[in-house]
Point group: C2
Chain length 387, copies 2
């Protein structure tokens, strides 16, 4: 167990019929909100209207910005910041999934400074304050609802970068699992993949010894997710499964499961960000492609840990660690395939000849995220395992 | 998964050499502190002097109150409240284990009101504010370092009652596992028992269905604790084990492991509080006595769940659930015995003829904790299984 600081002040309100609570919670932070939303699913499901109604009832006025896309873009962030400043907004209310929430956090930080918000992502400026962010989450995936991180894509430069700050933790996140009933099978599966990869990256990439406690919690969550996504795909309105998935996704990236692992790194995310930036691949889909290849790339270096995952999450038995590890990689791929998540670049028609371009793009992030062990050659090698 | 609110604002600073950080953290909350400590172990180990030195270096002046006993008493709380009011204290700094911390929280709530602090424990008054509490924890056991609860014993009335409030969450808890190196084998074991019982009470006593995710996390932590305490008893200076135990104890009662279980109840704690109140039994020791009997009492009602614990934490196999459950109870008892924690009232020379008196005392708490299913007869029945 390595030294750590854990400080997560987000208030989570979880469960059925909790959406209207946004009104009372928002009223604690002022009377003028900027309400952000995505491409219409929250409006179609009725969640959006319910939330707005609650704001009105609690005398919170608002301006609306919709149309936030998955792999949310910087241009939209800048537009929302201009509106927030012009309206003298006191808080940001996000209604949607991780993309809407990441946009909200970035707008919250950008609205209180004069410089361009992208400077936070380039590490040229640090985030010293932000407007309060409240959200109603409608997708179980990114974990953004209980952490201080945000990932934004700069369309002009094709960079998908991240920023984080204690000031960007949402004040209140409302998680009503019924809002995820209408999420498509594809995006439900991608959410499960995202959650599992959030758990696996610190599991594999840390500087701690004696990780039994941490590993045990992570393995237990992964077993749960594997069971739960099957039930969701079979019965999308199964409340207990949607609830379990939603809280698991939050737990996977709220700091609890990684606290004590020491310096952790996210190479699979690093490479995936380039797939999203260059080809607009859905994040979860990109992750299942890269994880499949990355495990193969790591087979000889992390044989025992891969085998441990196989034994404890895929119930693979045997005595030869290498054989178990190989079987584990096959089991992970088979799981992805069973939920229709891709495992190869070719599944998204990304050609082998593009690998140098992807590697070059990912290299930018390897520098920003302090992961110099991943040179462009190494990244290309990983990508060749993803063919 | 049942609806829940999770909001835990405590900042945890965990690891080696973190004690001096108390100075900088305290300085955020003012310049006048009341420093509370126990019976001298923190002074003997040097932790206390290090902490005071850090306060001085950060211009935080302080008044000291020591001598807080395990099963901390109301008279001491009242004495410290008088001093806090008189000195116009801005914050409470606790240096010690759960008893010192529970005293600190209670003093923090009592110092800002005019009425007697015991009214909070009798539910006559609610806690609407409190002074900031910061602590340096020196014992892995109660979990008080990351929740809003406090347990205090009223010596005059022989009542061991609890109070809790969002205002009593410590602002900052510093957890340096090396401060627990000097904890005796007995108290190390009692801490492990306390932690396991904090995990098992919501595991057994909840109103949720579909608890796979919750159960899995709890079982994983229990397996870790069982392995870890053995290593600690063999080698008390084994840092990774002390660290694992310390963070496990915090995780067991910070709300993460119980969120979503619905209404949970703590019958083993309820009955144990009477043993502590009447006989000053160490809390962990009392818990291992009561849990042993309570499981037997619950054998026919909770057969499957007891068997689940046995399969997943004690690796008991078989097809007959009742047989597995019985074997599980034996395994739990055997584990307690292996770490020299008591399993019978007679281990503390408590006579069978005392059972009605204990039951009568526990009944007070069954009312305050809204557990009317535990009449004095039922409590006596549990206690008869503890003989």
């Amino acid at each position: 167990m390595q030294n750590f600081t854990f400080h997560n002040p987000t208030k989570i309100i979880f469960g059925k019929d909790t959406v209207p609570l946004i009104g009372k919670e928002a009223a604690r932070y002022g009377t003028r909100a900027l309400v952000l939303s995505g491409m219409g699913s929250a409006k179609a499901s009725g969640v959006y209207a319910k939330a707005l109604d609650a704001l009105k009832k609690n005398s919170v006025s608002f301006v609306e910005v919709d149309g936030i896309v998955s792999n949310p873009v910087l241009s939209k962030v800048r537009e929302a910041i201009r509106i927030a400043k012009h309206q003298d907004t006191e808080m940001i209310v996000a209604i949607g999934g991780g993309s809407v929430l990441d946009t909200a956090k970035t707008v919250a930080a950008g609205a209180v400074v004069e410089h361009d918000v992208w400077d936070f992502f380039l590490r040229k400026e640090t985030i010293d304050s932000a407007l309060p962010v409240l959200d109603i989450l409608t997708l179980a995936a990114t974990g953004s609802e209980m952490n201080g991180g945000a990932v934004i894509t700069n369309g002009e430069t094709q960079e998908k970068f991240s920023a984080s700050s204690i000031h960007m933790y949402p004040k209140v996140s409302i998680l009503d699992p019924t809002t995820t009933f209408s999420v498509s099978p594809a995006y439900s599966a991608f959410g499960a993949v995202d959650t599992v990869v959030h758990l696996l990256e610190p599991y594999f990439n840390n500087t701690a010894s004696h990780t039994t406690m941490k590993d045990g919690m992570i393995e237990s969550l992964i077993r749960t997710i594997i069971d739960t996504i099957d039930e969701i795909l079979e019965n999308p309105h199964h409340y207990p499964s949607r609830a379990t998935m939603m809280w698991s996704a939050t737990m996977a990236l709220n700091g609890i499961t990684s606290a004590g692992y020491g310096k952790t790194s996210f190479p699979v995310h690093m490479i995936e960000h380039s797939l999203s930036a260059l080809y607009n691949v859905p994040h979860g889909a990109g992750l299942s492609i890269v994880l499949s290849g990355w495990l193969q790339y790591m087979l000889s270096t992390k044989t025992e840990k891969i085998a441990q995952l196989g034994k404890n999450c895929f119930f693979i038995h045997g005595t030869d660690e290498m054989a178990i590890a190989q079987e584990t990689i096959e089991a992970v791929r088979a799981w992805f395939q069973s939920i229709n998540s891709p495992t190869k670049l070719s599944d998204y028609n990304i050609a082998e000849t593009d690998i140098p371009t992807i590697a070059e793009n990912a290299l930018l992030l390897s520098k920003l995220w302090d992961m110099q062990e991943y040179s462009d050659d190494e990244i290309a090698t990983v990508l060749h395992f993803c063919k």
